[in-house]
Amino acid sequence: MRLSVENLSFGYRNQSVLKNIDLTFPDAGLTVLLGGNGCGKTTLLHTLAGLLTPKEGRVLLEQAPFSSLGRKAIARKLALLPQMTSAPAGVTVRELVMQGRFPWQTWWRQWSKADQQAVDSAIQATGIEDLVERPLEQLSGGQRQRCWVAMTLAQDTPLLLLDEPTTYLDIAHQVELMNLIAQLCAQGKSVITVLHDLNQAAAYADHMIMMKEGSIYAQGDVENVFTQDNLKVVFNLDADIIREPRRQQLLCVPHTDHDGIVADSPMPVAKVG
């Protein structure tokens, strides 16, 4: 049991964002967090990464509460890829990836062989060998995102938290990244990620968690959670669930008969989803 939360609540001022969440994340495989905008999934991810201190309850990392662990100790177990990554000026791709080794370094132990190996394999796994000497600010959004993923991989943690990792990528790179993540899970890492693309989530998730208004609405495997009823409640989305022909995986197809919305709208804008 690598990561779990007990009775977790979090809020800003009077507004509560997370309400009494109890969760135990699977030790291997890909866990996908789904939910509408503002349902608290990013807040949950940040609490899991230790960036936010819960108002109530606690996060347990390998049975130990976060409050008893140092920040670096947490960072050796758990890596976070934030949603908005920057392109810091004057940093090459290699330097970025090398930063992933920060939690492993101390004053008496600087750059070691293990550090070098972790960086090399992260660079290889993400296929950015040709970019390593380039400054980050010269790269496209997709290339940059792969470099940030490489940095979190270099951190060499059993747990990976990814906040919408596919956002800036074109479809081919999205698939490539999701395949990489699936491969990491097959190697025994547990990955927890927020995704916006429902079909991507259904295709890759081993475990699916749907959130609504700061609480867990449904969780379990895709077949049980990715249902027409749950999508209606969680996203207020009318959709059909069908199976794709090749691997019989679930797909959601939103209903696109939106006549009523268009008629009421002052601007002729079609709203989908």
Binding site: A73, G90, R94, Q99, F102, W148
Partner: protein, 340 residues
């Protein structure tokens, strides 16, 4: 297909030897500037005599006394002040993620100067040794004021405006104090425009117990600053305590700029210009940026002091005025090209 050896075969961290060579070159340049500083001035002194004054001192020779007692002291003070201000600039630009930040522009120097003036005028018996402490408290007060005025958005423009306001406020209050006390004005006018003189060497004794730990401390922060450069969230994810890092940096900045003010008065723009020079050479690795900035800061300061003595021979321009004359156009250029 790339095999694993092709990746490992690349150099570990991009030309360490090149960076060391660069540092050596900058060090040599510093030595040259120091030499010129000793040899040139209202009176140019023969190089052989400078050499003698350094390594075979004859206390009866008036020119050797000039080199040893006057210029040497002044050189040492310039070195220390330049290094301290440059380092403060590197840290303040790093923590605020603002390429225009500088202890002068953000009003930290003015705050320190005001506290020193007020302390010396109003608190009797608060001479000499308490000057650095007055400067530190002023610098801290001004820095906190700027942080508060900037608010949570961390907008670069807002921070510079807040700094300008704080700087104006403290300069005005200093001016008022000095109007009230005309004698004080005579004594402090020179100091307030940032003048380096040989007698400042005595003040080094007051500040080094603070300055040395601050300089060492900034080197210890280098690795965390590298991670911080990737963004607050990414840095926290890597295990950096971002809040603590910012607080520590703030204290180091306060001690560095407060020490500089206590020594020679408020000198602006060195903290702005030098980090950009250093980044031009070394990009953004703080483990290298900090030592480079130390050396470059010393070079800039010693050169500015030298220019102040040479430009209107046999008169002198205060060093702080020279740095402002060079630094202000640089600041404008930065605003035009670096800030959108």
């Amino acid at each position: 297909m790339n095999d694993s050896t092709s990746v490992s075969a690349l150099p570990k961290s991009g030309g360490v030897s090149l960076k060391l060579m660069g540092m050596l070159a900058v060090g040599l340049l510093l030595l040259v500037v120091c030499w010129l500083h000793l040899a040139l001035g209202a009176k140019s002194i023969d190089w052989a005599l400078v050499w003698q004054a350094l390594f075979n001192y004859d206390a009866s020779d008036s020119e050797q006394i000039l080199v040893r007692e006057m210029r040497m002291s002044r050189l040492l003070v310039s070195l220390v002040v330049g290094a301290a201000l440059a380092l403060a600039g590197v840290l303040i630009q790093a923590v605020s993620r603002n390429p225009l930040a500088d202890p002068g522009i953000l009003g930290i120097n003015s705050g320190a100067a005001f506290f020193v003036v007020a302390g010396l005028l109003f608190v009797s018996g608060s001479r000499s040794v308490s000057v650095p402490l007055l400067a530190f408290s002023g610098a801290l007060f001004a820095a906190l004021l700027v942080v508060m005025l900037t608010g949570r958005q961390q907008s670069s423009g807002r921070m510079i405006l807040a700094g300008a306001a704080v700087a104006a406020l403290f300069s005005a209050m200093t001016a008022v104090l000095l109007l009230v006390d005309q004698q004080g004005l005579e004594k402090l006018r020179n100091w307030l425009t940032g003048s380096i003189s040989a007698s400042d060497i005595r003040k080094l004794d007051w500040v080094w117990p603070y300055l040395v730990p601050a300089m060492v401390g900034s080197l210890l922060l280098a690795k965390s600053l590298n991670a911080h450069h990737l963004g607050d969230m990414a840095a926290s994810g890597l295990g950096v305590k971002v809040g603590r890092l910012k607080l520590l940096s703030l204290f180091v900045i306060v001690v560095l700029s407060g020490s500089a003010v206590a020594l020679v008065g408020p000198i602006g723009f060195v903290g702005l210009v030098v980090p950009h020079m250093a980044r031009f050479v070394i990009r953004n690795d703080f483990r290298w940026l900090i030592p480079y900035a130390l050396l470059l800061g010393a070079i800039v300061m010693v050169s500015a002091d030298l220019m102040g003595r040479l430009l209107v021979r046999p008169y002198e321009i205060n060093t702080g005025i020279v740095t402002a004359l060079i630094g202000a156009p640089f600041f404008i250029a930065l605003v035009i090209w670096r800030v959108r």
